[in-house]
C-alpha cells in the first residue's frame, strides 16, 4: 500500500480528540483512586461533606493521609443536581412544545393574514426562530447575572415565603430557560419535516388546525421530542455558572422545599476551589476529582441515551 503522508497527518490530528477524552477519564480515575479507597460507597450515600481539621496534623486511615474528621459525602449534591434538572425539564417541556408549535404552525398563518393588510411586512418567522436559538448562546454567567439582578428579587418579593429568592426554584427556572431552545429547535425541525400528506389528510377529515397539530403531527415527532428532552437534560446536569450564582449554595442538607438552598455537583466543584487549595493532604482535591468523575459518568449516560433515542427517532419519521 502506498504511504499517504497527508492522510496520516490529518488522521493524527483527529486522533487528538479521542486522546483528550481518554486523558480526561484516565486522569480523573487515577487522581480519585485514593479518594475512592477512602470513601468507599459512602461517597454516594452520605450527606455530609466535611473537609476535616486542616490546621492539625493529618491522620492516617486505611494507609491514606487525611485531615482528621474529614468525610466526603455527595448525596446532597446529587439530590440538588437531579432536583434542579428535573424541575427544569418539567418547566421547559411545555414551554418548548408551545414555542415549537406556535413557530411552526401559527406564525406562518398569522403572517399570511397580516400580510393581507400590510403587504410590505418583513418575514417574522425566521426572526422569531433566531431569537429562540439565541437564548441558547447567551453565556451561562450572563444568565446568572440576570438571575441575580431580576429573577431573585422577583422571587423574593412575590413568591418565596421567606423573602429569599435564592434556591432550588431559582436554579430550576434559569436552567429551564437555558435548555428550552434545545428542545424547541429540535421539535421545530421535526415538525417542519412531517410529510405534507399527513397534515392534509388530517385537515380533510375535518380536524381543526390545532387538532391537526396535536393529534396528527405531535405523535409522529414524539421520539424526536424525547430525544431532545434527554439531550437538554444532559446540558442541565452539567450547567455550572448560572446555577452557582442563583442556587444559594446550600451544602450538607437535602433540599426539602422549592426555596431550599442547593448545590449541584457542577456548581459545588467550582465553589470548592479555595478549600481544595488549602488542604495539605490533597485529599479534598482527590475527592473533588471523584465528584467530577461522577458528573462525567452521569452526563455520559444521559447523552448516550439521547443518542440512542434520536437514532430511533429517524426510523419512526420514515415509517
Amino acid at each position: 500500500m502506498k504511504l499517504r503522508p497527508f492522510r496520516t497527518a490529518v488522521l493524527g490530528l483527529s486522533l487528538l480528540i479521542p486522546a483528550a477524552l481518554v486523558a480526561v477519564v484516565l486522569f480523573l480515575v487515577i487522581y480519585s483512586g485514593q479518594a475512592m479507597a477512602f470513601n468507599g460507597f459512602h461517597f454516594l450515600t452520605d450527606v455530609t461533606w466535611n473537609l476535616g481539621d486542616l490546621y492539625n496534623d493529618p491522620v492516617t486511615v486505611k494507609g491514606i493521609q487525611v485531615p482528621s474528621g474529614a468525610e466526603y459525602g455527595i448525596l446532597a449534591f446529587i439530590a440538588g443536581t437531579l432536583a434542579s434538572s428535573f424541575l427544569a425539564i418539567i418547566i421547559a417541556v411545555p414551554l418548548s412544545i408551545g414555542t415549537a408549535i406556535f413557530l411552526a404552525e401559527a406564525v406562518p398563518e398569522l403572517e399570511r393574514s397580516a400580510r393581507r393588510t400590510i403587504p410590505w411586512l418583513p418575514p417574522i418567522r425566521p426572526v422569531l426562530a433566531m431569537l429562540v436559538e439565541l437564548v441558547a448562546v447567551v453565556p451561562s454567567v450572563v444568565f446568572g447575572l440576570w438571575g441575580i439582578a431580576v429573577l431573585i428579587p422577583f422571587l423574593g418579593h412575590h413568591i418565596s415565603p421567606t423573602g429569599n429568592g435564592y434556591g432550588l426554584l431559582a436554579a430550576s427556572i434559569v436552567l429551564a430557560l437555558m435548555i428550552t431552545p434545545i428542545i424547541a429547535s429540535t421539535l421545530y425541525d421535526a415538525l417542519s419535516q412531517v410529510p405534507k400528506e399527513n397534515r392534509e389528510s388530517a385537515f380533510a377529515l375535518g380536524s381543526t388546525h390545532f387538532e391537526v397539530v396535536t393529534k396528527a403531527m405531535m405523535p409522529m415527532v414524539r421520539a424526536t421530542l424525547i430525544g431532545g428532552v434527554v439531550l437538554a437534560l444532559g446540558r442541565a446536569l452539567g450547567e455550572t455558572m448560572a446555577v452557582l450564582m442563583v442556587s444559594g449554595g446550600g451544602i450538607n442538607i437535602l433540599p426539602t422545599s422549592l426555596f431550599s438552598p442547593i448545590s449541584t455537583i457542577a456548581s459545588f466543584i467550582v465553589s470548592q476551589l479555595d478549600s481544595a487549595e488549602s488542604d495539605p493532604t490533597n485529599m479534598a482535591v482527590r475527592a473533588l476529582s471523584e465528584i467530577a468523575l461522577v458528573l462525567f459518568l452521569i452526563t455520559l449516560a444521559v447523552n448516550a441515551a439521547a443518542k440512542l433515542l434520536s437514532s430511533g427517532a429517524l426510523n419512526v419519521r420514515k415509517h
Binding site: 497527508f6 483527529s14 406556535f102 431569537l131 447567551v138 454567567v141 380536524s207 458528573l295 447523552n303
Partner: protein, 292 residues
Amino acid sequence: MSASISQPTGPDTPGGKALRRTIISMVGWIGCGIGLCLVIFPLLDIVGVVTVNGLAALNWDLFTKNTGGAALGMRNAIEGTFIITIFAMAIAVPIGVGAGIYLCEYGKNKTGSTIRFLSDVLTGTPSVVLGYFSYIVFIISFGWGFSLAAAAITIAILIVPYLARITELALTQVPNTMREAAFALGSNDATVVFKVVLPAASSGVITGALLALAISVGETAPLIYTAGWSDYAWSGKFTHSPVAYLTYVIWTFIDQPDAHSHALAYAAAFIVMMVVLAINIGVRLTVKRSVR
C-alpha cells in the same frame, strides 16, 4: 404549507361539540403563544438589563485601568480574555480543521465513526469537568500554577470537537466532482484539500471558527480552575502567572456590595454578550441553515 384553517362546521357535527373543539383550539393556540413569549421575553429582558446597565457603566477608564488597587477599570480582564481566546484558537483551529478534513475526506469508515462518536462525548462533557481535569494535570501534576497555558489548552479541548464537526459539515457540501476533477489533473491529497476543497468550503469553516470564538469568550467554569485571577495585566509568561478574564468579573463583582463593582460586572457582561450575540447573529444572517 398551503393548508388553510378548516372550520369544523360539517353537517354531521353537532353544534355544541364543534363549539367545544373551536374553544379548545383557541385556548391551545393561546397557550402555545404564551409559551413562545415566555421564552423570548427573558432573552429580551437579559439583553435590555445588561445593555442599559452596561452602557451606563461604560467609560474610558474601563479600557485603560486595571481592576487592581482602586478597581477603576478592567483592562487586565479584557486583555486576558483576548489572549486566552487567541491562544486557544491558535491551538484548536489547526487540530479542529485537520480533524474535520479527516472525518469528511477519509473518515467514512470505522475509525471515522469512532472518532465522531468520541468527539460527541467530549462535546457533551460539562465544561467544569474539563476545567477540573486541567487543574489536576497542568496546575498540580505539571506544577504550572494558574496560567495562560493551562487556560488556553482547556478552552482548546472544549472547542476542538465543535470545530471538527462544523468543518466536516462544511466540507461535505463541496461537490465530489470538484475533487475528481482535481485528482484527474494529477493533484495529490494535500493539493486537493488545500487548493480546491477548503477554499470552496471556506465560509463554513470560518463560521465554525467564529462560533468557537464566541464559545471561548463566554466560558467561565473551565477557566476558574485554570486561569485563576490576576488584578494586573498579563505578565507575558505562559506558566506560573495567573490571567484575568471578563466572565470572572461578571461572576464575582456582582456579589460585591458596592455599586461600583456592580457597574464593572455589567460592563463586562455587556462586552461579552455583545461579542457572543454579534457573532451568532452575523453567522445566522449570512450562512444558510444547512451549513450549520
